[in-house]
Symmetry: D2
Subunit: 140 residues, 4 copies
């Protein structure tokens, strides 16, 4: 069974303390053995012309979601670094809606962690994007 080292609340507090400038963009909706759900509270600064969420904002959402999903498993001590992200943009996000990222950790190794993320417009069943991500975990 997967034991978590940090709750959703603790992850949110970690974000606020260590990532002050982006923490207000994100809300940790859920963290459990199945993975983590992170909300992007969509604001004007995330939008491209036309009103849809920009690629970099979706990339950032996937990246932070997986980062927190790993921290939930290993605790706040280590500083994991993104080494690879392969992201597919599949549909246009629905205008005026928040995005929800569902992240799951598929491997938590000694030096690498691997997982994937599905991103949805809130209330929609079809994902707008998917990503696979790898993190390097520094030695203690």
């Amino acid at each position: 069974m997967t034991v978590l080292q940090m709750t959703a609340d603790e992850l949110q507090q970690f974000l606020a303390r260590d990532f002050g400038q982006v923490a207000e963009d994100f809300t940790v909706e859920r963290a459990d053995g199945a993975g983590l759900c992170l909300r992007l509270r969509v604001a004007d600064r995330h939008l491209r012309p036309g009103g849809t969420v920009s690629g970099p904002a979706m990339f950032g959402l996937a990246d932070v979601a997986m980062y927190l999903a790993i921290l939930a498993r290993i605790g706040p001590v280590a500083l994991a670094v993104t080494t690879n992200c392969s992201i597919d943009f599949m549909r246009k996000p629905v205008a005026g809606r928040d995005l929800l990222a569902e992240a799951r950790v598929l491997k938590l190794g000694r030096v690498l962690a691997v997982g994937d993320v599905l991103i949805f417009s809130e209330g929609e069943g079809q994902p707008v994007a998917r990503a696979g991500l790898t993190y390097s975990i520094p030695p203690k």
Copy 2:
């Protein structure tokens, strides 16, 4: 609801007829609305020194699994072409076991189809590899 155009049996027959040389490597275990499960019947020609399944054999399994998952949805008329595959190798496959690929279609558009695949050693709960794949669907 997802309606399938081809059953697991029809997909297996399609493989045998159109991909004679590799068809004997693969068994379609399941095809339904949730996706497709494809077995790689591991033989000596799939192994690397040391006895584990080679990277190209796992890549081929992911590729054929997604290809069949798309055909199950659009029927055998179209000739989809792989345009991108991003694959993560996470664990060593268990020696002497078949591999099972679980493929799901995340987007089926007019010109592109996108999906992902998890590969397991039979009987194991932790995936050995994951892949995201994109196919180009030619105009009719």
Copy 3:
């Protein structure tokens, strides 16, 4: 020989007109048959704690560089959409330096364009990141 439809100046004007909010981040340094060089004028909003450029900012740089490299080839009429990006983060950017992205178009097809990007801290010979990107080109 590759004929360009837009010069570096025209691409810069296009950015300013159609991407007002991010245009000031970027300077088109060069556009020719070999590809395109785009500068990220690094500012506080691009930084993570510790002072290095954030992953989303590097993703955005790669994405805009490839977008402009494609437009240079097909002209400003079409609206290309990013469908996939696989990015490797290899080194920490040098603090206090701009980033330069070297983008090249490897395929310009009827419906898909594919290229890759190397990102450097200005003045350094070793890349901080590399990316492969695919764009969908809508029918005229």
Copy 4:
């Protein structure tokens, strides 16, 4: 300046000794500071219906080319393992021609090596595929 630990001949002998079953598929054409060129000697077993080289054969070519490019730099002692490959298939290979892979190492770190590969049909200027690959380098 990049110093190589192994010449093209030594890499070829390494292949023959440690990868007996696939060694006859490949010829190391060149290994120098700029990278490595590996030839896939195309045979019937590499072809898909229609006579073009299969995706798994191209994946295998990219994978072995990068593996050898890394060994050329670190010597034959270490056993590098592929952790990620993102490959774009861009054009159909020319029937009846060998494929040539041009691999370059972009990062050679303590635990990870990253590089990319372009694959060409011999005699053609436009690549048929490109790949970015990451290898994990085990501790000594």
